[in-house]
Amino acid sequence: MIAALLLIAGSIQAVNDILHPRVPTNRASFVQGLVGLDWLWMPDGGANIPALAGLLAFLLLPFGLLPAHRRFWAGVMATVLFAGLAIAAAILPATPASAFAARGNACLIAAVVFAWFLITQHLPRKNRAMPRYVSWIAVLLTLTVMIGNARADLDWARYRAALHAELRRATGLIPFPPKTEVAILSRDTWPWASPLMSVWFAPQRQVRSLLLNQPGSGVQPFDPASLAPHLPLPLDAALAAAFRR
């Protein structure tokens, strides 16, 4: 009962935090990303395959209530659909911007699952097979998101390699997009993070150059122009100088 009271107090506090956010634009971008389905698809990024796989899994779960022979074919259909998504996850590039827009998905899905659990936990379980069908869907979902995650790891490695190549090519400030623009550098760069990434991923941990943000990318954590005259600097000295107040 004490736990229940604490949880209610936490909920009230959270409502207050939503109504009075630290950065109101963050709340607006979260809502826009959610309602505009940015978490699923972005025009310049493509489809967020792991999110699509999660959605498919939820759509397929009710088929577990079918009679056994139909459930078998539902399982076959699920396998085929997930196989298609797994292939797409391997072929299509990962979508970092959509992934960021999906940051609230886990809590929203948790709410649906928790509500379902609370409603059904005291009902008699007529169909013992449901957990096995659900387990099979979980297997398919795991394999699909695993492939998508491996693809994301590869894309991240490519992004780092492309950033390294740019930073080696020049010294000082490099305008964005760089002259030898590679697609992945545009797609996987966070709008305000390029100068900071240039510090973190400086070749041989010596900061000689900084890739600038895209024009109009908004506030940035530090001003690259004020750091540039002090370059080259070792990574730790560059970090300290960047955030010196």
């Binding site: 539902a74 827009a101 609230g104 886990a106 966070w190």
Partner: protein, 215 residues
């Protein structure tokens, strides 16, 4: 067509159309193997500093500069403290170079939701292991869709709430576990904005369990 047995009821599987007695176990084993592979890709992400994507680079820089916790979002105090705790511990143990701090932060933010999900599964009694699908689905369908941006606190908060739900509603109660439930509930006071709708559901589960226990 052995895999088809995974979709049959126990009665059907033991009847004339019995396809395979161990089908359910095999599905569970495949699921564990697939999850192990997923865990490896998450470790890969952590080691490759994918956790620095988006705000991650900013958090890692400030953790190194502050040599301690960096609470930028007070409304997510619990989530930020728990994700940063391994980094701060690492710094206290001597991992003070910026690359080491970035690596610890990347690993922690990438792996923490998965580790909490694993804990939620492990606290379940054997007879209730099928409920492991609750935290698993939240993790697979929700958290993995934002895995590239592991700096986001949402997946952590969801996994935290899954652990609390299963402790409150299902796991056997002992004085130590009641203490842990209380501690986790205190953490919900400033966990994440989504506590606005997850909190009442967890409170409802607590109330149901309290009634059941008293009854």
């Amino acid at each position: 067509m052995d895999g088809g047995a995974a979709f049959l009821t126990k009665r059907e599987a033991s009847g004339p159309r019995r396809l395979s007695a161990g089908a359910a176990d095999r599905v569970s084993l495949i699921l564990i193997a697939a999850l192990a592979l997923l865990f490896l890709t998450q470790i890969w992400a952590g080691l490759a500093l994918r956790g620095l994507f988006a705000d991650g680079a900013f958090y890692a820089a400030h953790l190194w500069l502050a040599r301690g916790f960096v609470i930028i979002e007070p409304s997510r105090l619990t989530a930020q403290i728990l994700v940063q705790a391994p980094v701060v511990l690492g710094m206290r143990l001597g991992a003070t170079r910026p690359q080491a701090v970035a690596l610890l932060f990347s690993l922690s933010s990438t792996l923490m939701p998965l580790l909490l999900t694993g804990s939620a599964v492990l606290i379940l009694p054997r007879s209730q292991r099928h409920l492991a699908l609750i935290p698993l689905f939240v993790f697979l369908a929700g958290s993995m869709s934002s895995a590239f941006a592991s700096v986001a606190d949402g997946p952590f908060a969801a996994a935290y709430c899954c652990l609390l739900l299963l402790m409150v509603a299902v796991a056997p109660l002992s004085p130590a576990r009641l203490g842990l439930i209380l501690l986790l509930s205190i953490g919900c006071l400033r966990l994440y904005e989504s506590t606005a709708f997850l909190g009442p559901l967890l409170a409802c589960a607590s109330w149901q369990r309290a009634r059941q226990t008293r009854g």
